[in-house]
Symmetry: C2
Subunit: 363 residues, 2 copies
């Protein structure tokens, strides 16, 4: 690979493909000049679109595929017939070292199945997790798993915590992120056994995070911690509840600002302030969920994202690729394993550097 | 009992007890003239407060208790020593037929344990569930379980659906409420086995609800259905996520309306419209969660509720008591049992009337 950053795209995924994919790539390219793209999909649709974006056209390669994965295609079927689809090929290009990351929109289940099958999980990770940024009153936090695994055991949760902390260090730039497990109360006696066990394990291990114990649903919006860890069922419900609540309030706000002449005048004056709030809450500006724990970077964009939203997802891919996410996770997994299994390994942390002394047992 | 409606109160529960309990009772009494109260707690604190509310004073009886349950007391300990506490006595008065319902603030775990122990679950209900109204863009919906049961099986979920539908018919006044199970997708192949099985059962049975299948986290705020059914872990996270997101947006909105002279002027003009939105989202106006499925009515108020909030919880108690919630649930349970177990029972619904034909097996 050259010093350029190469991102592969599935041009055919998402509700408004390939238009928003191409437009999104063009927006991302304007921001990051060393960006290159490999674009998979139907060239008869892609090539004419590229004429609108001459700069993008000069830094991308279009690779034609006949097959695309539809939005409703079952993961099992995608796995059987989808490896030579635009989605499968975009992931394969990461596996082959041709691209630093793949950005895909649309069918999440198919993405997950193909990404897991083609890239496999990292050593030490049992199951990948879907992680994303969410808006909070303090800025942004990371939440995972957002739906890759409906049921999770204690080891999954501990691994999610490690991966989430690596995400926060990479994208939010926090050196030692605060991490908590989502629970129905903050007391140690609450929650399922998996949660209680994971809590105990995270309190004992020595990894690059500031583990805070439990947080509750209202702690998400408050931004209580940098990383919220949960199983894929709860995480999926929670992130969609955040989105749904924000949408509900926005629609009620809109209605109530239209209800009288006074409120209409008010809305005119407050317009630009309300717009900046709207931007902070707009899912497009937090777009780009990462399949964490794979041997390669795959970023999922919302199927309904705008071109700005798709560009945000490409932005997440760039952050991840440039900041050695995988390396961060591997190092923490090593630390985890030596703290948990490693009778005879003593670790000390000094100014961020981990000093390790291995004491071998004498026979 | 007389034609008066009698509500028993634990005056000592909640963050600002006994003040807000007494003030809340006074507000509720102003709205509903046939209301009477039995107030349990420390009379040296309660009696002086009552002098401020002469109307309330004339329609309540104060019953002194030495013991109160603290906010942090473990459920097991509350069960051992709490039966003669103000909380325990308030529940006992429902059991003894002295009060139509008890309204309690504070320690949810202790309330649950004592209510379950003293009142026992209704025939046909394996576990009680905590249900409450939540604000949506269409008005209000019912959600349950909000935290009584961390893990739930298919039967629990089916029973929750029945209880939630009865809640909606009683409090929202919907004749045939729409009901859905909260899931990570709307397709039938998504979710845990318990959810899939409960979905299948609810599709088959003939009860007074319009069962819609699955809904997702964003369906809550959209008000997609009248009743959202889920396990206590997910429900607790979801309702707290709604609250947390609303709080986050309110604080960001407040900040953004202060950021410039223009936005300050706008806020002045739009003030009353914004206030009515604030009221719709204020948890105090949706206060009053019901422990469903017990042989008696127990309503939980938020520990941090205002006196207005506490009055809302009393309002829920009144709705429930006046509209025969328990009768509605019992009838649906009978229908459920005859549809599920009843080989040989055929049901047909005609203009809302259930026609039942029992076909006995011949020997």
């Amino acid at each position: 690979m050259t010093s350029e950053l190469i991102i592969s795209l599935d041009a055919m995924g998402g509700d408004h493909a390939p238009e928003i994919v191409i437009e999104g790539a063009s927006i991302a390219r304007e921001r990051v000049p060393n960006l290159q793209f490999i674009i998979y999909g139907d060239e008869t649709q892609i090539v004419p679109l590229l004429t609108r974006y001459p700069i993008l056209k000069n830094c991308c390669e279009v690779r034609h595929t006949d097959k695309t994965i539809s939005a409703n295609e079952k993961p099992s079927r995608a796995l059987r017939r989808g490896r030579d689809s635009s989605m499968g090929q975009a992931i394969q290009s990461v596996k082959d070292g041709q691209a630093h990351a793949a950005v895909l929109a649309g069918n999440t289940g198919a993405q997950m199945a193909l990404a897991k099958f083609i890239l496999r999980t990292m050593p030490g990770i049992d199951r990948p997790a879907l992680a994303s940024l969410i808006p909070t009153s303090r800025g942004e936090s990371v939440m995972l798993d957002l739906g890759a695994n409906v049921e999770c055991d204690k080891n999954n949760l501990v691994q999610f915590a490690i991966m989430g902390a690596a995400f926060a260090r990479t994208v939010l730039g926090v050196i030692k992120p605060t991490v908590a497990i989502l629970n129905v109360g903050v007391e140690e006696l609450k929650g399922s056994d998996a949660i209680k066990e994971a809590d105990r394990m995270l309190k004992e291990v020595n990894i690059a995070m500031d583990y805070k114990g439990f947080t509750e649903g209202n702690g998400i919006g408050a931004g209580e911690v940098d990383v919220v860890v949960t199983d894929g069922f709860t995480g999926n419900v929670a992130i969609k509840t955040v989105e749904g609540t924000a949408k509900m309030i926005a629609s009620l706000l809109k209605l109530s600002l239209k209800e009288s002449l006074m409120s209409k005048i008010g809305a005119l004056f407050a317009g630009s302030s309300l717009m900046s709030l709207k931007n902070h809450l707009d899912p497009n500006n937090h777009n780009g969920a990462v399949f964490m724990g794979l041997n390669g970077l795959v970023i999922k964009s919302h199927g309904g994202a705008s071109s700005e939203g798709f560009a945000s997802a490409i932005g997440v891919a760039i952050d991840m690729a440039e900041n050695d996410l995988a390396g961060k996770i591997s190092r923490d997994l090593e630390n985890l394993n030596s703290s948990v299994d490693g009778l005879g390994v003593i670790q000390a942390q000094n100014d961020g550097k981990v000093v390790e002394m291995t004491i071998k047992e004498q026979k």
